[in-house]
């Protein structure tokens, strides 16, 4: 069978070495203005601290730099090229107006320590975004400081700990479902908590009976992702919250999957005490090849005294300012005020949507996931038939019989012009294919995706070896990751 690949065509793309391989003395891409103060004798000023040589730093011209990075860029897949169905990552469109407004002079060049009098614009952005996020989550207060989701988890658990300490003892354990992201247990460990696993039930939800038996006065909090990593809404959420609260515990929500809820339901209304958001997921700030993220933490009133410093306040004269004097605060979690540039983008996204746009966005995200589920049901194994929200998890059970695993199918998908879905996660589904289309995909793009996945399933039946050797059309074939880890080469060195 010859596969029908409709989305992509191979085309020539440029080779490019490392920048160091283009360097030669005397080339330059910089020019400084003439010095308007007296020259200095560096040896006299710095003495033995003077640096004489910058080693193997490159020397290249501007056009070479433009070509170098432009060529590299063409080797990347990106949301701008097509669907990026990574489950739990919410790869949605990154609006360009966000990029424009974040570069306005006063915002891009504002110094974090400039006087409050000339910082009212930035403070206004912090305040407006805070109010929007508080309303969207149904919580009472928020900190925007955490630099990413995992940093938000850390900040959240620091507040959990401070809260319990204020009641007498920090408690010992955090309960974490087996379907959770790896950051959850890693964070609990950083805050000095032991991790206790919580089993999922047959429908892929928290086993409420198990929770009831595991919950006691030693448990500080439950870290729950809702909808969970199977894309399933925890239908017994009110019972879960009640069980936690009855024994004085807190309910922490990992907001990684908030894209399924915005404008339709608010975590604060269903018993969540604190949660983090990922602005780079739900609120469209660009992933940029792995960051920057931004992980605000929204909280209920009971946790407000413990917010990290500083906190934005309105002064008696109506001006906005930072408050540092907060005796019960968990302290500072990073320098300055957080990833401000991401706040600008997240707020621009929120304003572009408004209440109706946010709701429609959520509805489309859930509609898309269900459309893919319907399109691929019967072709791939669906381990949990519980209703799907914003993402759907299949398994490679059928294809594994031919020796083809989820990663192989994912690699073959590349040849069809798509980025792979998330593989081998969540851990509770062996051989998982975790697919989150987001609202940004048109029906046409999803039809192409469904066709590609069906075509690959057929290829697995007819020619599994071909699938195992995929991808066939990329610049590099599968890379030797074992060798990379065994003898790490982590930097370029000049040939001896």
């Amino acid at each position: 069978m010859k596969p029908v690949i409709r989305k992509a065509t191979q085309h020539v793309n440029q080779n490019e070495g490392l920048i160091f391989e283009k360097s030669s003395p005397g080339k330059a891409a910089w020019k400084l203005p003439p010095l308007d103060v007296p020259e200095v004798d560096t040896a006299k000023l710095l003495g033995s601290s003077e640096r004489k040589d910058l080693g193997n730093m490159p020397e290249v011209s501007e056009i070479e730099i433009i070509r170098h990075f432009t060529r590299l860029s063409t080797w990347n897949y990106a949301i701008d090229l097509g669907m990026y169905p990574l489950g739990s990552c919410t790869m949605k469109y990154n609006p360009r107006v966000n990029e424009v407004v974040s570069r306005f002079d006063g915002l891009a060049n504002g110094h974090p320590y400039q006087p409050e009098k000339i910082s009212q614009g930035a403070l206004g952005i912090l305040k407006t975004l805070s109010e929007c996020l508080i309303e969207i989550t149904g919580m009472d207060a928020i900190t925007l400081q955490p630099a990413a989701g995992a940093h938000g988890e850390l900040t959240g658990l620091l507040m959990v700990r401070a809260y319990h300490e204020s009641k007498g003892a920090p408690r010992k354990k955090i309960l974490i479902p087996d379907s959770a992201h790896g950051t959850n247990p890693a964070t609990a460990a950083m805050v000095g908590y032991a991790v206790e696993n919580l089993k999922s039930d047959a429908r892929g939800m928290v086993d409420v009976a198990a929770l009831a038996s595991q919950m006691n006065e030693e448990v500080a909090a439950l870290m729950l992702t809702n909808p969970n990593t199977l894309g399933v809404f925890e239908q017994q959420i009110h019972k879960i919250a009640d069980i936690m609260h009855a024994k004085g515990g807190l309910l922490y929500m990992d907001g990684a999957n908030m894209n399924a809820l915005v404008g339709k339901v608010r975590p604060g209304d269903f018993g969540v005490d604190l949660m983090h958001l990922n602005l780079h997921k739900t609120f469209s700030t660009p992933h940029g090849g792995g960051g920057p993220g931004s992980g605000p933490v929204a909280i209920k009133k009971i946790l407000e005294p413990f917010l990290p410093t500083p906190v934005v306040i309105t002064r008696p004269d109506g001006a906005l300012g930072f408050e540092y004097n907060r005796p019960q605060s968990v302290g500072r979690v990073r320098a300055f005020y957080g990833n401000f540039g991401m706040f600008v983008r997240a707020l621009a996204y929120t304003l572009a949507n408004g209440p109706d746009g946010l709701r429609q966005t959520t509805e489309d995200a859930v509609l898309n996931a269900n459309y893919i589920r319907k399109g691929l049901e019967g072709v791939y194994d669906l381990p949990y038939s519980t209703p799907t929200m914003h993402e759907v998890v299949f398994s490679d059970k059928v294809q594994a019989k031919k020796g083809v695993k989820t990663m192989d199918i994912a690699k073959r998908l590349i040849d069809y012009g798509f980025h792979p879905y998330t593989t081998a996660f969540p851990l509770i589904v062996p051989g998982a294919l975790m697919i989150e289309p987001t609202e940004s995909e048109s029906k046409e793009e999803m039809d192409l995706f469904i066709d590609a996945m069906k075509s690959i399933a057929q290829e697995v039946e007819e020619d599994p070896q071909m699938v195992l050797a995929a991808p066939h059309t990329t610049r590099v074939s599968r890379l030797d990751e074992t060798a990379a880890a065994r003898k790490p080469v982590l930097r370029w060195k000049p040939a001896q």
Partner: protein
């Protein structure tokens, strides 16, 4: 909604295909009592032109067009235009973490180059793909030193950025890590005698910053000797990366935790910035954060992958070296392009201009006020002590659309009316002269006020 690519007919057709009567069917799993049956109370949907106007107004309220003498961990340097041209390419801007190397070679190779240049500049053997910022990098580096030494306490110089120290205190608190603060001497450098006394057999590391918070370059070799003599590691934080162009890097350090914001990253009111951790090869398996390594594909062709992932949270969960997941890839790309532009010669020349501007300014300020800590070499920051409250000086300067130095009362009350001033290649002589005139004006006013008081005293 203009970002959503579906017509009402598409939605109808999709619902039909799914077998749902309406979109509400798909939200049925959410218990009815929690479903939101009203609009969110957020501003109404805005047109793109309205969004642009709204943020332009905020920008105008935010010090647009002001010149600045502020540094203190966030530095105003020129950003060559091609940085934004290149990072705005959708293939960089809108790509995910490069977990699928076959279609992420662009990001991976650029990070490999970034790691290489950070090694060249810091004198370390390995560098990670970046972490959140300089403050959290310092905290992560200290925790890494504790893992490596099996010791628990930390000696931290008081000349380290006060907010970095606060962040470390937050991180260390629940790791059971006692912190001992080491004072600075009259030259603003770490007091070596006090350092010696602060180290115990349980000291995992000494954390210093160089150039330190006051702009002074520390005697890294002497500090390293003391730390190493007691079996402790030396962690050096670098907040002003441009210094690496002209200041000898802290090669004696075991771990360097730096902030690369100065390398082409906008001030952006404090973030996003770009932390990096660099260290010796032998410690790499205890280093937090992502790493890119070189390897080959099935045809023997060179390629790059994320590697040593067994340190990380998605594999190790609660046993990971850190909970960190994201890096600052796009910001690291800015720094990467900046380092490539200036390169071996330009970075040195750039640093030299910073040095010259700060030297000139310190000399001029010295005519009308006291420049503290003159005994030790410094880079592009210095501390000026005045009779007048620095807030008053800064108030006058604001009328010239100039933001003066950072008053230090909040962080170092013992320094009195002192402020931390920073000059970069962006600071013109004219701006320096205006600022100096303002300090002189204050000195004159306090002098004449004092003379008037003296006259009164005499006549009484």
């Amino acid at each position: 909604m203009r970002y959503l690519p579906k017509s009402p007919a598409d939605r109808e057709a999709m619902l039909k295909a799914i077998g749902a009567r309406s979109i509400d069917d798909l939200f049925a799993p959410i218990p009815a009592e929690y479903r939101l049956n009203r609009d969110l109370k957020v501003p109404r949907q805005m047109a793109e032109s309205e969004i642009v106007d709204w943020f332009r107004e905020r920008s105008q309220e935010n010090g647009e067009g002001y010149k600045t003498f502020l540094g203190a961990g966030a530095y105003y340097h020129y950003r060559p235009v091609i940085i934004d041209s290149l990072i705005s390419r959708g293939e960089f801007l809108t790509a995910y973490t490069p977990y699928q190397p076959e279609i992420s070679q662009g990001t991976l190779q650029s990070i490999f180059e970034f790691q290489t240049m950070i090694c060249e500049l810091t004198g370390m053997e390995v560098a990670n793909a970046s972490v959140y910022d300089g403050s959290t990098a310092a905290a992560e580096a200290v925790i890494m030193a504790a893992r490596l030494t099996g010791r628990h306490s930390v000696a931290i110089a008081r000349s380290v950025h006060p907010e970095y120290r606060e962040v470390l205190a937050t991180y260390a608190h629940h790791q059971g890590m006692p912190l001992v603060t080491v004072p600075f001497n009259e030259g603003a450098r770490v007091d070596l005698n006090q350092l010696e006394k602060s180290i115990t057999p349980d000291t995992a590391c000494v954390l210093i910053q160089s150039p330190n918070f006051f702009g002074t370059i520390e005697d890294v070799a002497a500090i390293a000797d003391i730390a190493h003599k007691h079996g402790a590691m030396l962690v050096v934080s670098i907040a002003e990366a441009i210094s690496l162009g002209i200041v000898e890097p802290p090669r004696q350090a075991d771990i360097i935790a730096m902030e690369a914001q100065s390398f082409g990253v906008p001030l952006g009111f404090g973030g996003p910035y770009c932390g990096v951790i660099a260290t010796r090869e032998q410690y790499v398996r205890q280093m937090p954060g992502r790493l890119v390594g070189q390897t080959t594909d099935r045809n023997g062709k060179r390629g790059f992958v994320l590697t040593l992932a067994t340190r990380e949270q998605h594999i190790r969960r609660e046993k990971a070296t850190s909970n960190i997941c994201t890096n600052q890839a796009l910001i690291a790309l800015m720094a990467n392009i900046f380092m490539t532009i200036y390169g071996k010669v330009g970075l040195r020349e750039l640093a030299k201009q910073n040095l010259a501007k700060a030297a000139y300014a310190a000399q001029q300020f010295g005519k009308h006020a006291k420049v503290l800590f003159s005994g030790a070499p410094r880079f592009n920051e210095f501390v000026v002590q005045t009779n007048e409250d620095p807030y008053a000086i800064n108030g006058r300067l604001l009328e010239h659309k100039i933001v003066g130095g950072l008053p230090l009362k909040k962080f170092y009350p013992e320094l009195g009316n002192a402020a931390l001033w920073c000059c970069t290649e962006m600071t013109t002589r004219a701006t320096i002269d205006t600022a100096v005139a303002s300090v002189a004006e204050g000195a004159l006013m306090t002098k004449s006020a004092k003379e008037a008081a003296d006259v009164q005293e005499v006549t009484r």
